[in-house]
C-alpha cells in the first residue's frame, strides 16, 4: 500500500493513465457497450496477465522472439507496462490511437526474426501463426480467469467477447478469418498447436513472472501467491510441461483469490492517475 514500495507498478499506472485519453475523438475499435470494454478492465487482469505469459511462453518460436529482441529480462515491469498499455490503448483509445499503436507494433515486428536455438527453426514476429498463438494465449487466459475470479461472464458473453477480440488480432496482422471466434474454437486451436513445449527460455521467463526481481519481501510473498493461483488456472498440459504441481484447492478458492486481487488493485488505484482513468472509462460506459 505504501506508494514508495510499489514503484515497480508505477510504469503500469502511467501506461493506464496514458491509454485512457481524456478527449477521445471517437469510441474506438470496440466502443463502450462492447464486452471488450467490460472485460478488459476487470480487476482480475493481473492474474489473467500472468497466466497469458505462462501460456504464450510455451511456443518456442514466440518465446525466442521475446528472448532475442527485447529487454524484458532487465525491466520486466517496464515490458509488462508496455504490453498492458497496448491492450488498454487498443481497447479504450480512439480509433486513431488504437491503429497507431498497432502500426507501431507491426513496425517493431519487422525487425524481430531469427532462429530459435532450441528447435533450430526460423521465426518471424510478422508470422501470422505466431501472432495468433500470442493472441489465443491471451484471450483464453482472460476468459478463464475472468470467469473464475472476475465479475460475471456467462458462456454466451464469453463467446461474444472472443468474437469481438478477433479485431484485436487483425490489427497486428492476423487475417480475421483465421482467428477463432468462440471459446471452444479458441481452445481447439490452442490444443492443435504441435510445437508447444517448455523450452529453457520458457521456464526462465515463467520463473521471472512468478518471482520478479524488483519486489521486496512482503510484496513478493503476495505476488508469489497470485502466481501460484495463475499456475492453478493453467490447462493440465501446460502445467505438466512446466512440471508444476496443482496448487492446493484452498489457495484457488474464489473469495480468497478475490481478496488478494482486491488488495493489489487498491494499491494500484493509489498510484497517480489510475482512479481518474478508471472513472473516465466508467463515465463513458454510462453515457
Amino acid at each position: 500500500m505504501e506508494a514508495a514500495r510499489l514503484s515497480p507498478l508505477e510504469p503500469l499506472a502511467k501506461a493506464y493513465a496514458r491509454a485512457v485519453s481524456e478527449h477521445p475523438k471517437d469510441a474506438g475499435l470496440f466502443g463502450p457497450a462492447s464486452l471488450v470494454w467490460r472485460v478488459n478492465r476487470d480487476r482480475c487482469f493481473p492474474l489473467a496477465g500472468m497466466r497469458s505469459l505462462m501460456v504464450q511462453a510455451l511456443h518456442p518460436l514466440a518465446m525466442a522472439g521475446v528472448v532475442q529482441h527485447s529487454n524484458w529480462r532487465q525491466d520486466p515491469f517496464g515490458r509488462l507496462a508496455a504490453t498492458s498499455g497496448y491492450v488498454l490503448t487498443t481497447t479504450y483509445g480512439d480509433t486513431e490511437s488504437a491503429l497507431a499503436a498497432a502500426a507501431w507494433v507491426r513496425k517493431v515486428h519487422v525487425h524481430v526474426h531469427g532462429v530459435d536455438p532450441e528447435t533450430n527453426l526460423p521465426y518471424s514476429a510478422e508470422d501470422p501463426s505466431l501472432l495468433l498463438w500470442v493472441h489465443a494465449g491471451m484471450v483464453d487466459s482472460i476468459v478463464t480467469v475472468v470467469q473464475r475470479y472476475g465479475r460475471r461472464l456467462d458462456p454466451g458473453d464469453a463467446d461474444r467477447y472472443v468474437a469481438e477480440m478477433v479485431r484485436f488480432a487483425e490489427i497486428v496482422g492476423v487475417p480475421a478469418d483465421d482467428v477463432p471466434a468462440t471459446v471452444a474454437s479458441l481452445r481447439a486451436y490452442i490444443d492443435s498447436v504441435d510445437l508447444r513445449q517448455a523450452t529453457e527460455a520458457a521456464r526462465d521467463a515463467t520463473a521471472v513472472v512468478m518471482d520478479p526481481p524488483e519486489l521486496d519481501n512482503d510484496l513478493r510473498d503476495l505476488w508469489h501467491d497470485l502466481a501460484l493461483v495463475a499456475v492453478g488456472t493453467l490447462p493440465d498440459w501446460a502445467r505438466e510441461m512446466y512440471g508444476f504441481a496443482a496448487p492446493a484447492p484452498e489457495l484457488m478458492e474464489r473469495e480468497s483469490v478475490r481478496q488478494l486481487l482486491g488488495a493489489l488493485d487498491l494499491a494500484f488505484e493509489s498510484l497517480p492517475g489510475v482512479l481518474d482513468a478508471r472513472r473516465r472509462i466508467e463515465l463513458r460506459t454510462r453515457a
Binding site: 505504501e2 514508495a4 514500495r5 512482503d218 510473498d221 482486491g262 488488495a263 493509489s270 463515465l283
Partner: protein, 465 residues
C-alpha cells in the same frame, strides 16, 4: 530494515495498546465524517453521483475484496505515522473519496429489505439524493409520517458480510500490514482493525448508544444528542432526528466568545458523560459536532461508545483527587499503578511520575483561566507518543482505558484549535464526583438547573450518582 522503519519500531514497539489507540483515533480523525456534511446540504455536490453504485455487485467491486478494509487500515495508519512519507500521504488522499454513493434505487432497496417498504412509503417525504457519504454507507433526509425531520443512514448492501469475510482472512491482512507498514505490531494492528470495523458495521449497537446519550441529555440547555427512531432503525439503517447547524470550520469564523462557549460545552459533555453517565463516546472529532449560537452543540456519531464500571473509574477519580487536591503524590502513583498505566515497582522516582503523567492534567492543576492552544494540544500528543521518556519502559495504556485516552488526543486537539479559554478547573470541579462544585459559569448555572429538574423527574432506580 531501513533507518526510518527502525525509528518507527522503537517508537511504536512500546506497546500494542498504544498502537491500537492511535489507530482508533486515526481512523476517526482522518476519515471525513459524514456529519461534517450534515450542516450544509448544498455540499452534497461533492458526492460523485455520476458514478453512483447501481448494484450490490458494484458495491462489492468498490469496497469488497479487502478494499474497504484496507482503506480503513490506511486511514488508521496515517495517524500512527506522524512522519508518514509524502508518497503514502498522497496515495491515501487519492483513495480517500474513491467510493461513490449508491443510486437512489439501490439505497431504496436496502430500505425495503430492512424496513419492509420503499422509502416513499415508509416515510412521508423522502429525499432520494443522499446528503452525505459515510465510509460504509450514506445519509438521506426524510420526513416521518408524524412529521419529524430525520437523517437516515443506510449501509451499502452486502458490505457487512464482505467485511466480515475479509477480516477472517487474517493471514493475508497480516502480510499486507507487514508489507505496507514495516515495524508495526501486525498482530495487534489487525486485531484492532477487526474490532473497529465490527463496531462500525453494526448500526444497531450505535443506535443503542446514541439513544442512551440522547435520553440522558434530554432538555439540557446546551448539549443536544439527536434521538434515534428505533422503529425506523435496524442493523443496517439508522434513523435519527435531523439537526442542522454549523460545522466546525464555520465555527472557526465566529467570534472568540462563541468559540469559548462551544469549547466549554464540548468539555462539559465529555467529562459529564464520563463521570455521571459512565460512558465515553470515543470520538472527540471536529466532524462529530454541529454548532449553534450561545454555546449550544449537537453531538453526533456514537459508533464507538464505551461504558465504564465503577471499578474502571475509581482509580481515575482517585488519581485526580490525589494529584490535584490532596497533593499526595505517592497515592497518585499508586492510583496509576492500580489502573495499570504504570507498572508497580518501576525504578523511577515518584517526582518523575508526577512530572510525566501530570502533563495530562495540565488544564486542571491551577484554579485560573487557561487558554488551550494548538501548541499545548500537540505537546500532549507528542508526550503521549514519546517512547524515549524515562517512563516509557514501564507505562502502558490498559485496554479498558484505551478509548478514553482520546480525551488527550482528540478533545484537546479540538479545544486547541478553538484557542479556547476557560477556568477548566472550576468546570471540572462541578463534575468531579468527589467535589460536586458549584456552578462556575452561566452554562454551569443552566446545567445545574437542568440537573435539578432532571433528578426530580427521574425514577429513583435510574439514579447512580
Amino acid at each position: 530494515m531501513s533507518a526510518t522503519s527502525a525509528i518507527r519500531q522503537s517508537r511504536f514497539g512500546r506497546g500494542a495498546a498504544l498502537a491500537r489507540l492511535a489507530l482508533r483515533i486515526g481512523g476517526r480523525y482522518v476519515a471525513r465524517s459524514p456529519r461534517l456534511l450534515f450542516a450544509s446540504v448544498e455540499r452534497r455536490g461533492e458526492l460523485r453521483h455520476d458514478l453512483a453504485l447501481r448494484s450490490a455487485d458494484e458495491v462489492a467491486e468498490e469496497l469488497g475484496s479487502m478494499k474497504g478494509v484496507l482503506m480503513k487500515l490506511g486511514q488508521m495508519a496515517s495517524y500512527i505515522y506522524e512522519d508518514m512519507p509524502l508518497t503514502f500521504r498522497a496515495a491515501m488522499s487519492r483513495l480517500q473519496h474513491r467510493a461513490p454513493p449508491m443510486t437512489g434505487a439501490l439505497a431504496s432497496s436496502v430500505i425495503v429489505e430492512e424496513l419492509g417498504g420503499v422509502p416513499e412509503w415508509v416515510f412521508a417525504d423522502w429525499d432520494p439524493v443522499p446528503i452525505a457519504a459515510a465510509s460504509i454507507g450514506q445519509v438521506h433526509r426524510a420526513i416521518t409520517h408524524d412529521g419529524r425531520a430525520v437523517a437516515v443512514k443506510i449501509q451499502y448492501p452486502g458490505i457487512a458480510r464482505s467485511i466480515t469475510s475479509d477480516l477472517r482472512n487474517v493471514g493475508l491482512l497480516r502480510r499486507i500490514v507487514g508489507a505496507a507498514f514495516p515495524g508495526l505490531d501486525t498482530r495487534s494492528l489487525v486485531e484492532e482493525l477487526g474490532e473497529r470495523l465490527h463496531e462500525e458495521v453494526d448500526y444497531a449497537r450505535e443506535a443503542e448508544s446514541q439513544e442512551m446519550f440522547a435520553r440522558y441529555y434530554d432538555g439540557h440547555p446546551v448539549i443536544r444528542v439527536p434521538h434515534v427512531l428505533s422503529e425506523l432503525s435496524t442493523s443496517r439503517v439508522l434513523t435519527s432526528e435531523l439537526v442542522s447547524g454549523s460545522t466546525f470550520d464555520e465555527l472557526l469564523e465566529w467570534d472568540q466568545h462563541e468559540k469559548d462557549l462551544a469549547a466549554e460545552t464540548i468539555h462539559r459533555f465529555v467529562f459529564r458523560s464520563l463521570y455521571r453517565l459512565h460512558a465515553f463516546n470515543g470520538d472527540p472529532h471536529p466532524g462529530n459536532y454541529l454548532f449553534h449560537r450561545g454555546g449550544r452543540v449537537t453531538f453526533l456519531d456514537f459508533g464507538l461508545t464505551k461504558l465504564f464500571t465503577d471499578e474502571d473509574l475509581t482509580p481515575l477519580v482517585d488519581a485526580v483527587r490525589f494529584l490535584v487536591f490532596e497533593k499526595d503524590y505517592e497515592a497518585f502513583r499508586a492510583a496509576l499503578e492500580r489502573a495499570g498505566f504504570l507498572r508497580a515497582g518501576a525504578p523511577v522516582p515518584t517526582a518523575t511520575v508526577v512530572d510525566r503523567f501530570g502533563q495530562f492534567y495540565g488544564t486542571v492543576l491551577q484554579d485560573a483561566p487557561m487558554t488551550i492552544t494548538p501548541a499545548y494540544a500537540s505537546a500532549i500528543v507528542r508526550r503521549f507518543f514519546d517512547a524515549r521518556g524515562p517512563l516509557a519502559p514501564y507505562s502502558d495504556v490498559p485496554r479498558a482505558y484505551v478509548i478514553m485516552q482520546r480525551i488527550n488526543l482528540g478533545l484537546y486537539a479540538v479545544l486547541g484549535s478553538l484557542h479556547a479559554t476557560a477556568n477548566w478547573r472550576r468546570i471540572a470541579e462541578e463534575i468531579w464526583p468527589f467535589r460536586n462544585g458549584p456552578p462556575s459559569t452561566p452554562i454551569g448555572e443552566a446545567e445545574a438547573a437542568w440537573e435539578a429538574n432532571r433528578l426530580s423527574k427521574l425514577p429513583r432506580k435510574v439514579l447512580k450518582n
